[in-house]
C-alpha cells in the first residue's frame, strides 16, 4: 500500500515523464503494427491508416491509461481548482472578506491552540511521561492546602510503595556560580540519586549521583545542563572532572544532560545532589515539607494512581501509630495526595486556557456562519446557472465536487493566512506574559501546528461546502428555473436558513461579550482590592545568602543591619527594611504557631499562619497600618526579650474580645518553655500574601529577623522619587557591603501587584479582543444578509412603491425584520451568556456567574451594533426608485 502511494507521488512529480513515456509506448505499438502490415505487403500509407483504425481513439486510450493509474481524479481536481480560482478572482470583494474572516478566526484559534497544545496536550518530554506522578502533604483544616513533602517522607517511602517503580526528591533553589569576579546567580535543582532514572532521561555523558553523595560532607559533585555546558564550558567534551564553584564551594562535574532535557518549567543551570543530615530524615521532621521540597515518582507499569494513593494512605496510617504529632495532624485533616505530574503542574492555568479556547472556537463559529451566509447568497446568485447546467446533463457528483473544491480552496488559503496571523498572535501572547505560564517557555509554532491548521482548514471547508452543495442540488430543476426568475424572490428555505444563521451569530456574539464582560469585571474588582499596605513608591529586591559566607544567624543579622542602615541613609529613601517574604512574591508557605492559653475547641484544627522575619523599618517601608501597640524595631533582634507583632486577622481569631498586645505565643506546633514564648507587642493591618484575590483571613505573625534567618531576604525601600530610579543606587549599596552578592527580582511594589494580576488581565484582554472581532463579524453578517434581501426584492419594492406604498413603510418592513432577528438572537444569546457564566465560575472573582448588568450591557451593545448594520440597507430599500427597479433586469 505504502509503496503504491509513493509511486503515485512519483508519477505526480514526474507527470511530464509519464505522459511522454505513454505517448512513446503507444507510438511504438502503432509503428510496429504498421511495419508488420507492410511486411505482409500492405502499402505504407495504407498500413499507417489501418494501424490507427485498429487502435481506436488515441485520446480515449490515453485517458483510460491515466485512469488505470489513478491520475484522472487529480486531473479533475486540478481542472476544478483552476475554475474555482477564476471564479474567486472574479469577485474580489467576496473573496477578500472571506479570506480575512477565515484568517482572523483561524489565526485566533491557532494562537490559543498553540498555547493549549504546549501546555496541556503535549506529554512532558520524558519516556512514558503519563506514569510520572507527584505527591504533596495537605492540611486543609489548618488552611494549608499544599505543603510539599518532607525529606522524611522521601526516605520512608522510598522502595516501600509497591506501586512506584522509583521515587525521587528535589527542590528548586538558586546559587552563586563561578569564580570570584565573574559570579552569577543561577537556578539550581537539588535532586536525590534516582531523579534522572525516575524521569527516564540520563546524562548525555558522565554519570548521575550516587547514594554516597547525599551527605553534606560528600556532596561536592554537579551535573550540568546542556545550556550551561555550552555557555560556560564552550561545550568542552572533557568537562567531566573539572571543577565549578557554587556558593564559593568547588564541585566536581560528573555529567552533562542532553540538550532537550527540561524538567517542568525549570530554568536550572545545574543539578546538585540533595544532601541532608540524619536528623533531617528523622520521624519528627515528617511534616516539615514547607513547599520547597517535592516528590516525584514513576508508577510501575500497570499500577494505577488509585493503588499508589491507597498504599501511601496505608503507610501514613501505620506511621501515625507512634507519632506524637499524629493527633494534631489528623485534626488538621492531614493527607498525602498523589497527582499526575503533568496535570498537577498545569492545573492552575487549565480552566483559563480551556475558556480561551472555547472563546476562540465561538469566534470561529461566528466567522463560519458569516461565510456560510455569504456563500449562500453567492450560490443563490448562481442558482440558475447551476440549474441550467444540471438540466444540460452535469452530473450531481460534479456539482458537489465543484463546490467542495472551490470552498476548500478558499478555506485553505484562509488557513495559510491564519497560520501567519497565528505566528504573530504568539508574539502578542508573549507580551501578555504567556511564556511565564507553567511550561509556557515550550510554546512553539511548529510543523505540528501547521499540519493541524491545514487539516482544520480543509475540514472547515468541507463543513461549509455541505450546506452549499445541498442548496445547489436541493430542488427540482423546474422549480428552480421558475423561482428567482424575473420578478420572483429566492426560495423560502434559503431565506429561512440565512435568517437562522444570523440569529445564531447574534447569540454567539452576545455570549462571547458576556464572558468578556464577566472577566473584565472580575479584573476590575480584583484590581480594586487593597493589598493592605501602601504600595506606591516602594522598591523591592531579593538577596540570597550563600551559606559559605553567611553560615549563621549572627552574620546574617549583621549584614541586614548594615544594609538597612546604609540604604536608609541614601538620599530619597524614606524608610528601609527587610523581610524574608514580601507580599505577592509568589511564595506563600504557612507555618504553625501555638498561642499560649488557647485550647482547641472541639472540631477546631491547628492553623497555619503566614510567618515573617522582619528587619529594619519594614513596616514603615511598606506602609503598614498600626492598629494597636507598636511596630517591631531593629533593636528587637538584639534584645533578650522575645517579642512579635501579629496582624488583625490573627488577633481577631485568637482574642476576639480582648487586646492582643501582651499575649504570648510559641513558634511551631506545640507549647514550650515560657522562656521561648514571644510576647505580642503590636497589631498591624492584614496584607495580601498569596494574591489580591486570596480572601482567606489566615493570620500572620511577624518575628524579629534574628529568629528566622532563612536563605532569602527581600530588601524594601520607601522612596520619595520614583522607585525605579533608585534601582542602581540600591544595587551599588549592596555591592559595597558584599561585592559577591547580587540583587535579583528588582521590582517596585506596584509592578509586583500589576504582575500578580497578569493571570486575570491577559485573559480579559484576549476575551475583549475576541468580542470586538465577533461584534464586527456580526455587523458584517447582518449587513450582508439584509442588503442582499433588499437587492433581491428590488422589483417587489418597486412594484409596491408604484402602487402607492410610502418609503417609511418599506423601511419599517426591513427594520422590523431586523428587529425580529435581533430579538430571537438576543434571547438565545442571553441563554448562552448564562451558560458561559456558569462555565467560568472558577475564574471569576467577586462577580456572580449571572450578572444582570453585564447581560443587559452586552445585549445593548449587540443591539446597537446590529441595528446600525441594518440602517443602511433599510434606508437603501426606502430610496429605491420604482422606475429604475422595474426597468432593471
Amino acid at each position: 500500500m505504502f509503496k503504491r502511494i509513493r509511486r503515485w507521488f512519483r508519477i505526480l512529480t514526474f507527470r511530464r515523464e509519464f505522459e511522454d513515456g505513454m505517448s512513446e509506448e503507444l507510438r511504438f505499438h502503432m509503428e510496429q503494427f504498421a511495419d508488420d502490415l507492410v511486411s505482409r505487403g500492405v502499402a505504407p500509407e495504407e498500413a499507417a491508416r489501418l494501424a490507427r483504425i485498429e487502435f481506436g481513439s488515441l485520446q480515449n486510450v490515453k485517458s483510460d491509461c491515466r485512469e488505470a493509474r489513478g491520475l484522472h481524479l487529480l486531473d479533475e481536481l486540478l481542472r476544478e481548482s483552476r475554475y474555482a480560482t477564476r471564479l474567486l478572482r472574479k469577485t474580489p470583494g467576496f473573496t477578500a472578506t472571506a479570506l480575512l474572516t477565515l484568517a482572523i478566526c483561524l489565526g485566533a484559534n491557532l494562537t490559543i491552540f498553540a498555547v493549549m497544545d504546549s501546555i496541556l496536550l503535549r506529554p512532558l518530554p520524558f519516556p512514558e511521561a503519563s506514569r510520572l506522578v507527584t505527591m504533596f502533604n495537605t492540611y486543609p483544616k489548618a488552611g494549608v492546602d499544599r505543603d510539599g513533602s518532607s525529606i522524611t517522607n522521601y526516605y520512608e517511602r522510598r522502595g516501600r510503595i509497591p506501586a512506584f517503580a522509583s521515587l525521587s526528591l528535589y527542590n528548586f533553589g538558586t546559587g552563586i556560580i563561578g569564580e570570584t569576579g565573574s559570579t552569577e546567580r543561577a537556578q539550581i535543582t537539588r535532586v536525590s540519586p534516582e531523579f534522572f532514572s525516575t524521569l527516564g532521561v540520563g546524562p548525555l555523558f558522565g554519570r548521575t549521583f550516587t547514594e554516597a553523595e547525599t551527605a553534606h560532607e560528600t556532596d561536592n559533585v554537579a551535573i550540568l545542563t546542556d545550556v550551561y555546558w555550552r555557555q560556560r564550558f564552550n561545550a568542552d567534551p572533557h568537562v567531566i572532572g573539572r571543577q565549578i564553584r557554587v556558593d564559593g564551594v568547588p564541585k566536581t562535574i560528573i555529567g552533562v544532560l542532553p540538550p532537550n532535557f527540561r524538567f517542568l518549567s525549570s530554568e536550572s543551570r545545574l543539578y546538585l545532589p540533595f544532601a541532608s543530615r540524619p536528623q533531617d530524615r528523622a520521624p519528627s521532621e515528617r511534616h516539615s515539607g514547607g513547599n520547597a521540597k517535592q516528590l516525584i515518582a514513576r508508577l510501575q507499569p500497570g499500577a494505577t494512581l488509585a493503588q499508589a494513593q491507597s498504599q501511601i494512605d496505608a503507610q501514613n496510617a501505620t506511621l501515625e501509630v507512634d507519632d506524637p504529632q499524629a493527633k494534631m495532624m489528623a485534626d488538621a485533616g492531614f493527607r498525602s495526595l498523589v497527582i499526575p505530574l503533568h496535570a498537577d503542574h498545569v492545573a492552575s492555568v487549565r480552566p483559563t486556557l480551556l475558556l480561551m479556547q472555547a472563546g476562540a472556537l465561538a469566534l470561529l463559529l461566528i466567522g463560519a456562519i458569516n461565510l456560510v451566509n455569504l456563500l449562500l447568497i453567492r450560490a443563490t446568485g448562481r442558482s440558475k446557472e447551476m440549474a441550467v447546467r444540471q438540466a444540460l446533463g452535469a452530473n450531481r457528483r460534479h456539482v458537489v465536487s465543484e463546490v467542495m473544491v472551490e470552498i476548500t480552496l478558499l478555506t485553505l488559503a484562509g488557513g495559510l493566512l491564519g497560520l501567519g496571523l497565528g505566528a504573530g498572535g504568539i508574539h502578542l501572547l508573549t507580551r501578555l506574559g504567556v511564556d511565564r505560564l507553567p511550561l509556557g517557555a515550550t510554546i512553539a509554532f511548529d510543523a505540528r501546528l501547521a499540519i493541524v491548521a491545514l487539516i482544520a482548514a480543509v475540514l472547515i471547508g468541507i463543513m461549509l461546502a455541505v450546506p452549499i452543495a445541498w442548496f445547489n442540488l436541493r430542488d427540482h430543476l423546474t422549480n428552480r428555473l421558475q423561482a428567482e426568475s424575473r420578478g420572483g424572490t429566492s426560495g423560502r428555505s434559503a431565506q429561512r436558513l440565512r435568517h437562522a444563521f444570523i440569529v445564531g451569530q447574534i447569540a454567539l456574539a452576545l455570549a462571547l461579550l458576556t464572558g468578556a464582560g464577566l472577566l473584565g469585571l472580575s479584573l476590575e474588582r480584583a484590581a480594586a482590592v487593597s493589598p493592605g499596605f501602601r504600595p506606591e513608591h516602594v522598591l523591592t529586591g531579593r538577596i540570597s545568602f550563600p551559606w559559605k559566607s553567611y553560615p549563621n544567624p549572627a552574620s546574617r543579622l549583621q549584614f541586614v543591619e548594615r544594609l538597612t542602615k546604609e540604604i536608609g541613609q541614601l538620599p530619597g529613601v524614606l524608610a528601609s527594611g527587610v523581610v524574608d517574604n514580601v507580599p505577592l512574591s509568589g511564595k506563600s508557605g504557612k507555618s504553625a504557631a501555638t498561642v499560649k492559653g488557647h485550647v482547641l475547641r472541639p472540631g477546631e484544627s491547628p492553623r497555619g499562619h503566614y510567618s515573617y522575619a522582619v528587619g529594619g523599618d519594614y513596616f514603615s517601608a511598606l506602609g503598614f497600618s498600626l492598629q494597636s501597640g507598636r511596630f517591631l524595631t531593629p533593636a528587637d533582634s538584639r534584645r533578650t526579650q522575645r517579642v512579635c507583632v501579629v496582624d488583625e486577622d490573627f488577633a481577631r481569631y485568637y482574642w476576639p474580645n480582648s487586646s492582643a498586645v501582651g499575649q504570648r505565643l510559641f513558634e511551631g506546633g506545640e507549647a514550650r518553655a515560657d522562656a521561648e514564648a514571644f510576647t505580642v507587642v503590636g497589631v498591624v493591618g492584614a496584607v495580601k500574601q498569596a494574591g489580591l484575590t486570596d480572601d482567606a483571613a489566615q493570620g500572620a505573625i511577624y518575628y524579629p529577623y534574628i529568629f528566622r534567618t532563612g536563605d532569602d531576604i527581600f530588601i524594601t525601600a520607601r522612596t520619595s522619587l520614583s522607585p525605579e530610579s533608585m534601582t542602581s543606587m540600591l544595587q551599588k549599596t549592596v555591592r559595597q557591603i558584599d561585592p559577591e552578592l547580587p540583587v535579583s527580582d528588582l521590582r517596585s511594589m506596584e509592578t509586583r501587584i500589576a504582575d500578580s494580576l497578569m493571570a486575570r488581565r491577559s485573559p480579559a484582554l484576549l476575551a475583549g479582543i475576541f468580542s470586538a472581532i465577533a461584534l464586527l463579524l456580526t455587523a458584517i453578517g447582518t449587513y450582508g444578509v439584509l442588503s442582499y434581501a433588499v437587492t433581491e426584492r428590488r422589483r417587489e419594492i418597486g412594484v409596491r412603491m408604484a402602487l402607492g406604498a410610502r418609503p417609511e413603510q418599506i423601511r419599517n418592513q426591513f427594520f422590523s425584520l431586523a428587529l425580529r432577528l435581533l430579538a430571537a438572537g438576543t434571547t438565545l444569546g442571553i441563554l448562552g451568556g448564562l451558560l458561559a457564566g456558569r462555565a467560568m465560575r472558577a475564574v471569576l472573582y467577586h462577580v456572580p456567574p449571572v450578572d444582570p448588568a453585564i447581560l443587559a450591557g452586552a445585549a445593548a451593545i449587540i443591539g446597537v451594533v446590529s441595528l446600525i448594520a441594518c440602517l443602511v440597507p433599510s434606508h437603501r430599500a426606502a430610496r429605491i426608485s420604482p422606475m429604475e427597479a422595474l426597468a432593471s433586469q
Binding site: R4, M22, E25, H29, G56, D64, C65, A68, G70
Partner: protein, 113 residues
C-alpha cells in the same frame, strides 16, 4: 486467419500475465504472444491492451522497464512480479476449475441425469 473468438470479460488480464510470464515483452509483443499462444484464436482489441497493462502495473503485478528491441528501438518491457506470478497461478487454477465444471456440465448426456 482462422476463426477468432471474442474475449470473455476479465480474461484479458490473465492472458497478459501469462504472456509476460513466459518472457519479458513490450506491449506489442504481448499482443502478438497472446495471438500466438492461443493459436490465433483470440483477437485482442488493441485499444484495451494498454489500459490493462497500466492497471496491472498499478496493482504491482507487473513491472515496466525501458529497453532495446532487436532492431535497436526503445520500448517498454513488462516483467512479471512475484505478486503477479501468484495471481497468475490463482487465476489459472480458478479458470481450470470453472472450465472443467462448465465442460462437464455441457457434456452431460440424458442418461446420466
Amino acid at each position: 486467419m482462422g476463426k477468432t473468438a471474442d474475449l470473455l470479460p476479465g480474461t484479458l488480464d490473465m492472458l497478459i500475465l501469462k504472456a509476460v510470464s513466459l518472457k519479458p515483452l513490450h506491449g506489442y509483443g504481448v499482443l502478438l504472444r497472446i495471438q500466438q499462444i492461443s493459436g490465433d484464436a483470440l483477437e485482442i482489441p488493441q485499444g484495451s491492451l494498454y489500459p490493462a497493462l497500466y492497471r496491472l502495473e498499478h496493482q504491482d503485478l507487473i513491472v515496466a522497464e525501458w529497453g532495446q528491441t532487436e532492431n535497436n528501438r526503445r520500448a517498454k518491457y513488462y516483467t512479471l512480479t512475484s505478486a503477479g506470478r501468484r495471481r497468475l497461478r490463482e487465476e489459472t487454477a480458478g479458470w481450470n476449475r470453472l472450465a472443467s465444471a462448465i465442460a462437464s456440465a455441457l457434456n452431460t448426456k440424458p442418461e446420466e441425469v
